[in-house]
Amino acid sequence: MPSLNTSSSADISFLLLTFFLLTSSITNEQGIPRLLPKISNQEKQQQEDIRERNILTILVNKNDDVLINKTQILKKEDIAVKLKDIAKEFLANPRNAENLPEKDVKQIDGLGTFAVSRGVISLTNDNSTTFATYILVQNELQKAVNELRDETALNYFGQKYEKLAPEEKKAIQEAIPINISEATSK
């Protein structure tokens, strides 16, 4: 039997290869994941219920400056430097200060009793704020939460949050929740 001429099969597979190279993308989707809050009628009620010491209001204005708790102004350049530490101190409240959030002592599987902060970060932005600044603020808040989670994870499990098992991650998430409430902007 004469052998089959296979010299063209390489060409055919090359064609397929180029087709796939063109139609597919390697872009790995990465970003900051967020869960939007559900719409409910009780929203306003809940907002009023939160006491003042439990809220950190962050207002981003049209010049991309940040106003914190209506008193402290951060220039655009300072956001990346200072906001994280402010948010971190607010969420952790390490010295149980009077003007920082209260804590609820909860029983969490895998952690035992843990004082969960009641702090809520309220983020408001102006219509003319640029998206880059908004993401910068979100990024800093996420960084604050991530660092707190890392610290807690190191304390309890001796490992960074990223490397924990799913159940352990869940416990840490419960201990340090991301409470960002975004009011509709003015």
């Binding site: 290869l17 990465q30 993401i135 910068l136």
Partner: protein, 166 residues
């Protein structure tokens, strides 16, 4: 040496290239595994903002992409501020009222097609690919509309920040 050349008129033996196609097929499979099919091409200029705390999007199967940025060639010119919104591969208007309707239609369509495939429509992740220079007024409308249609899982696409890398 000279003699060798004179007598060396023998033809080179043909290289056996039957395994070449196997090698290329291997390449092909490699690419098929590491890539995902592109669902839509961005027709708007989209430079994502930098971030350090990004996470990789895990479920690539159910992602709806919403682009926002200055329109590129072929896009409908936006009415004000040169912002254009692209929902998967369709353009939406940037006038607030029309945009609300377009976005809400889009989300409903996505949820329906997801439900038809037998998946839970609440698992769809909405990947918001928004240019860093877009003003928040558009993003706010978009977010409000997502909330009203019970599409709560979102992801702000960001770029790796090389300067502040640990």
């Amino acid at each position: 040496m000279a003699r060798c050349k004179k007598n060396g008129k023998k033809e080179l033996p043909e290289i056996n290239n039957s395994s070449m196609s196997d090698i290329i097929f291997m390449f092909l499979f490699f690419f098929m595994v590491i890539t995902t099919m592109r669902e839509s091409d961005a027709s708007v200029r989209f430079t994502p903002p930098h971030a350090t705390e990004y996470q990789k999007l895990e479920k690539k199967s159910s992602i709806a992409t919403i682009y926002m940025g200055a329109p590129l060639r072929g896009g409908i010119p936006a009415i004000d501020e040169k912002v254009s919104i692209q929902l998967n591969d369709k353009f939406a208007s940037t006038r607030a009222e029309v945009m609300r309707r377009d976005v809400s239609d889009f989300i409903k369509g996505e949820r329906e097609s997801c439900a038809n495939k037998g998946k839970d429509p609440n698992t769809i992740t909405y990947s918001l690919k928004i240019d860093s220079e877009v003003q928040m007024r558009y993003v706010n409308i978009l977010k409000q509309e997502l909330r009203e249609n019970n599409a709560l899982k979102i992801n702000y696409a960001t770029k790796k920040d090389k300067k502040n890398e640990k």
